[in-house]
Structures are given as C-alpha cells and as structure tokens.
C-alpha cells in the first residue's frame, strides 16, 4: 500500500464519503418521490424503515460524511485557487478534522437522545 501522509487520507476519506453521500442521495430522492402516491400510498410505511435505529445510525454516519466532505471540499478549493493553499494543506486538513468534530459533537448531543428515545 502506498504510504502517503495526511493528503492521502484526506483524499481517501473524501472519496469514500462522497460515494456514500451520492448513493444515499439517489435513495433519498427515490423515497421522497413516493409521496406522489398520495397520503394512502407507501410513503409512511417506507419511512418507518428509516426510523429504525440501525438505519438512523447509518444515516448519522452519512451526515458525518457530509460535514467532512463539505469542509474538505473547501480545503480543496483553497488549495486550487490560492497561492498558499497547497503549502498549508496539512494544517488545513487538521482544521477540517477539528471543525468536523466541533460540529459533530453538538449534533450527536441532539440526535443520539432522539435515537435512544425512539428505541
């Protein structure tokens, strides 16, 4: 395996989170389109599946992926469009991880009790 440093992990996480988000996006548009069948259609039954705790934990991981992907995307934009971005890419990546955690912890604080309360 190629032993890159931070940049390699930044790329790998960006790729994995991106694929997960894109696949969930396709599923999510499909599930919302079920409202076209009307109030007596399959929408509510399908959503009951979404409300199960294993799915909600999976969804939480996708949301964590969204936060990382968004912030690392901003890092990529800085690397591509500023003169100093590449020089500080490692520091920027630690900034991305720090901000992802800083956003993630309060979100967990709100969402985990919801999930536990729903079991």
């Amino acid at each position: 395996m190629y032993r890159g440093r931070e940049g390699q992990w930044a790329f790998l996480l960006h790729r994995v989170s991106g694929v997960a988000i894109a696949l969930f996006l396709l599923l999510h548009v499909l599930d919302i389109s079920l409202v076209m069948f009307g109030p007596d259609g399959p929408f509510d039954a399908f959503l009951a599946f979404y409300h199960n705790w294993p799915f909600r934990i999976g969804l939480l991981m996708v949301i964590a992926g969204v936060v990382y992907h968004a912030l690392n995307g901003l890092r990529i934009i800085l690397m591509d469009f500023t003169t100093w971005g590449v020089r500080y890419q490692r520091q920027l990546w630690y900034g991305v991880l720090g901000l992802t955690t800083a956003i993630g912890v309060p979100v967990l604080w709100i969402v985990v009790p919801q999930i536990v309360g729903g079991i």
């Binding site: 996006l25 109030p39 949301i63």
Partner: protein
C-alpha cells in the same frame, strides 16, 4: 493516478483531456461551494430543528406546498445530482480498468440517475397534492 492533481486553472487546462473535462473540474468546485450552504441548510431544517423520526407524509406535503421550499429543493436536487453523479463517474473511471465494463457501468449510472432526477423533479413540480390524490384515486377506480 497517472499525473499529479491539477492545482490551478491553468494546470487543469493543461492536463484535461477535453474542454468538457475542464468544465467539470470547474463545476465541481462551484457546485461544491453552493452545496455546502444548500445541504447544511437542508440538514439543519430536517434533522436538527425537528426529530427526523417524526417525518411523515403530512410533513413532506406541508413542506412541498411552499413555493420557497420547492425552489430551494430544485436547486439542491440539480446541483447535488450533477455533483454526485460526476463524482461517481470519477470513481468508476479510477477503479474500473477494463474499457467494456467501464462503459456499461457508466451507462447504468447515467440511466439510473436520469430516472431518479426526473422522479425528483416530478415530485417537486409536476403535481399539487390535490391532483396527486385525485390521480391515485383514479388509478384505484380503474382497477
């Protein structure tokens, strides 16, 4: 990857195999910046402000009845689908070596995405909820 990632617009222009590939390089950055705000707003509204486990038909119907939500979601759908599907295309091209397989994976990706994009747009714009109910009842009546 064969060559180092382009870091500037000029470098991207040099390494891109075509004008459209350069266009996608630029698009990923512009749409990505827009999506940061669009997606965070979407998650804030539907996952933080409310408990998503309370989402049901009535909630979605009341949201999509608002023109502002429809317009917001149209932008979200448009940019997220293009950004996401192009990202999946990058992944297929990076990890699928055999040209035949690569071709068919991409055909599959584009077909599925196009259908889902049309479904999403229909959900947002094609029907009012009254019309939807009527349409469903009409289908029920013919059976």
């Amino acid at each position: 990857m064969a060559s180092p990632r382009p870091r500037t617009y000029a470098e991207a222009r040099e390494v891109s195999s075509s004008n459209s590939e350069l266009g996608w390089w630029v698009f990923m950055r512009i749409s990505g910046l827009l999506l940061v705000f669009l997606v965070f707003g979407h998650l804030w509204t539907n996952n933080i402000v409310i408990d998503p486990a309370t989402i049901d038909y009535d909630y979605v119907a009341s949201r999509l009845a608002q023109p502002g939500v429809r317009i917001y979601d149209t932008f979200l759908l448009f940019f997220a689908m293009l950004h996401g599907v192009n990202g999946l295309r990058y992944s297929i091209e990076d990890y699928t070596k055999r040209p035949g397989r690569r071709f068919w994976y991409k055909i599959l990706l584009y077909t599925v995405s196009a259908i889902i994009f049309v479904l999403g747009t229909m959900t947002l714009w094609a029907f009012t909820y009254q019309e939807m109910g009527d349409a469903v009842r009409a289908i029920g009546a013919t059976q």
